[in-house]
């Protein structure tokens, strides 16, 4: 029996998480108790040496007037340093780097083998992001200085510095921001380490005038030795775990966390056919299981690749223009080494991730992707000598696929066997050599 690749179908996976995503790097604060939309938050960090362009995805779906955001930033940002990005770029990055399902079709064991044809199908993965809300600001002096105030696109932005956290909290409350309890304590370390606060809300006039129907990502460019994401703020009101997907773009190579362990997701696993229709569910369970196995204390690497290529491709590589929109600013320099993407998936809670995420860029150019394989059995009625050998090896393989899936997702292997409609008795018989002698 030979496996021939007659076609390769790729299904991109989009991860969605049903959890209140109050904030990932800052607060989302509302004027009213509007329900926040629950999806994984996404961040792009494009960094070369100390220069960073940070993009915060914004998939808020409530009323624009309720949107508000507070994020700690290392330096005061001027208007030229803030830009409103293109939401499609996040979708493209998501599609390019998401875990992929690859299909192979077994050839007819009775026939001559044909050379393989590759056919790649792509499906667009919608982007995901946390919801954000904000209210209006007014300048008030509680040790709070408005370092800068400007508008970019549909956003009105303030950069604040504060002398002490109670003052900042009071100021925010006085300006109708609904601050989660305990905010002052969480703000304190950022104030003491000299960080500023980026406060954004929607300029309704601009928003309505341009007919936007969703808020676009916010991008900030700055220079700072700090390579981190302040997730501690976002944990204030979190009832459980929150998901964050970080795309780190670097000219050097893979990025990793320096204060937490980074683990690769299980990959290159052969799984049963039926998973094709429930790939999202499978990936979610597998991620959950891997996460629990690591005692919930690690971050996961889902993709690490040079962006000039892909194999197999779940989406076309990003064009230089798209890379620029994602924040890549070093492509024009003559010594540019291209772009390397690391897709890091963090599921964090206060207990398991007490520190803010700190990253480092390494020169590691090893490639990795989350890839899951489905082999469709040949279902024809041909009869020949090779067919019985094929059927035998097939049942062994199917059993292996079932146990692989059980191990990856923690599902009971018998449930899987039922779904696969595996004739368990015959498989068992095959496994036990004594059955062949005496039965």
């Amino acid at each position: 029996m030979k496996l021939i690749v007659l076609s390769i179908t790729l299904v991109t996976f989009f991860f969605s998480q049903i959890q209140p995503a109050l904030a990932f790097c800052g607060f989302f604060v509302a004027t009213a108790d509007t329900k926040l939309y629950n999806q994984a938050s996404q961040v792009i960090i494009a960094r070369d040496e100390n220069r960073t362009i940070l993009t915060l995805a914004n998939d808020y779906q409530g009323a624009a007037k309720d949107f508000a955001l507070v994020v700690p930033v290392p330096v005061v940002l001027q208007k030229e340093q803030v830009h409103v990005g293109n939401p499609t770029v996040l979708e493209r990055l998501d599609a390019f780097s998401s875990p992929r399902l690859v299909e192979y079709f077994d050839a007819n064991p009775c026939q001559i083998n044909y050379p393989a044809e590759e056919r790649i199908m792509r499906s667009d993965a919608p982007s995901s992001a946390g919801a954000m809300k904000k209210a209006r600001n007014e300048a008030k002096d509680l040790g709070v200085t408005v370092e800068a105030k400007f508008s970019v696109g549909e956003y009105d932005i303030l950069i604040l510095s504060a002398k002490e956290s109670n003052g900042l909290e009071t100021w925010l409350v006085n300006n109708n921001y609904k601050i989660p309890p305990g905010a002052s304590k969480a703000l304190r370390p950022y104030i003491l380490t000299g960080m500023k606060f980026f406060v954004a809300k929607v300029n309704l006039g601009e928003y309505n005038k341009n007919g936007f129907n969703r808020l676009r990502p916010l991008m900030m460019a700055f220079e700072s030795p700090k390579f981190m994401l302040p997730i501690r703020l976002g944990m204030l009101n979190a009832k459980g775990e929150q998901d964050l997907i970080i795309y780190i773009l670097s000219p050097k190579g893979q990025a990793e966390l320096s204060n937490y362990r980074l683990v690769k997701v299980p990959s290159d696993a052969e799984i049963p056919e039926y998973v094709q229709t429930e790939f999202k569910k499978f990936y979610k369970s597998m991620f959950e299981k891997s996460y629990e196995r690591e005692n919930k204390k690690v971050a996961f690497l889902e993709y690490a690749w040079d962006m000039a290529s892909c194999d197999p491709c779940s989406a076309q590589p990003l064009t230089p223009q798209e890379l620029k929109e994602a924040g890549v600013f070093w492509l024009d320099s003559p010594s540019s080494r291209g772009v390397f993407i690391s897709r890091i998936h963090v599921r964090y809670s206060r207990e398991t991730f007490p520190e803010d995420l700190q990253f480092q860029a390494t020169a590691n150019r090893e490639l990795f992707q989350g890839r899951y394989i489905i082999r469709h059995p040949y279902r024809g009625e041909d009869k020949c000598e090779a067919m019985s050998a094929y059927q035998k090896s097939l049942s062994v393989r199917l059993e292996k696929e079932a146990t692989t899936l059980a191990q990856l997702t923690g599902t009971d292997v018998n449930i899987i066997r039922n779904k696969m409609k595996l004739p368990s008795s015959s498989v068992q018989q095959q496994k036990n050599w004594w059955n062949q002698i005496w039965h």
Binding site: L192, K264, V298, A363
Partner: protein, 276 residues
């Protein structure tokens, strides 16, 4: 097996095997072989040139250096590892003080810093061990065993205590909960460094008082580099920067230098212990 270096080789090899099999590292066989080859060959060449030290008595130290490099240094090309190994071993002979009769750079540390500075290709992964309790106990246990044998546990303890205290003070000032300190201290890489790297008796001050002072300085510099300058590899840089201080501290004190193998039959003048 009175030579504690053998224990250290066993422990470090155990960590390497564990790390490769359970911690998802990217280290490849060619890197490991290159590290060992470069360390052993360099040691062989240097001892061949110098009359007063033999390869047979000094090879365990090279193996320890090679293991240290495998555990801590990463790169894209095996050449990076080869360079690190060669420079690491050579530093023992080049940066050697004939008055104090010792080398003052920890060889593995020197190799790591050279690779970080001279190539664009090398890195260290502070998060590679994670915070699993099991590993920490393992490091503590084996480290303690070895340190008792060479009598340098005071260095590790002082370093760790000072480091913890500084971090605790800083966290209290920032208002962090105690879970942050817990997380910062349960780093496998930190323990590996504190128990196995800064305790190489051949490259740290001789006298107890000097060692304690040196450990305190090391902890202070490390915390500075980490928190003020955001260096993720602060441990290695501070050890490197403070290594020459060893000589100064030894000059101010006249303790006898450390000898790896004390044999009652061998007269002391026949040993040149500081090149081990």
């Amino acid at each position: 097996m009175s030579d504690p270096r053998y224990y250290q080789i066993i422990c470090l090899s155990l960590f390497l095997v564990l790390g490769l099999s359970t911690r998802d590292w990217t280290l490849r066989a060619d890197f490991i072989l290159t590290a060992f080859a470069s360390c052993l060959i360099t040691q062989f060449l240097w001892t061949g040139c110098l009359k007063n030290i033999s390869f047979t008595s000094s090879w365990p130290s090279s193996v320890i250096t090679a293991l240290g490099l495998c555990l801590l240094l990463r790169g894209n090309h095996p050449l990076t590892m080869a360079m690190a190994g060669t420079l690491a071993i050579s530093s023992k002979f080049l940066f050697y003080s004939p008055w104090e009769k010792k080398h003052f750079f920890n060889p593995a540390n020197f190799g790591i810093i050279s690779a970080l500075v001279l190539t664009k290709d090398a890195w260290v992964s502070p998060g590679q061990w994670g915070t699993s309790w099991w590993y920490l106990l393992l490091f503590l246990g084996t480290g303690g065993l070895i340190l008792k044998k060479i009598g340098r546990w005071d260095t590790s303890l002082t370093f760790l205590l000072t480091y913890s205290l500084l971090l605790a003070l800083r966290n209290a000032w920032l208002g962090y909960p105690v879970t942050v300190l817990q997380h910062q201290l349960t780093s496998g890489s930190l323990l590996l460094f504190a128990l196995f790297m800064i305790t190489d008796p051949r490259s740290i001050p001789n006298a107890t008082k000097s060692r304690l002072l040196w450990s305190v300085a090391l902890a202070i510099l490390t915390v500075c580099l980490q928190q003020q300058f955001y260096r993720t590899d602060a441990l290695f840089w501070s050890l490197f920067a403070l290594s020459p201080l060893t000589l100064l501290l030894d000059r101010l004190d006249v303790s006898s230098p450390f000898v790896w193998q004390q044999s009652p039959l061998t007269p002391p003048t026949d040993h040149n212990p500081s090149l081990n």
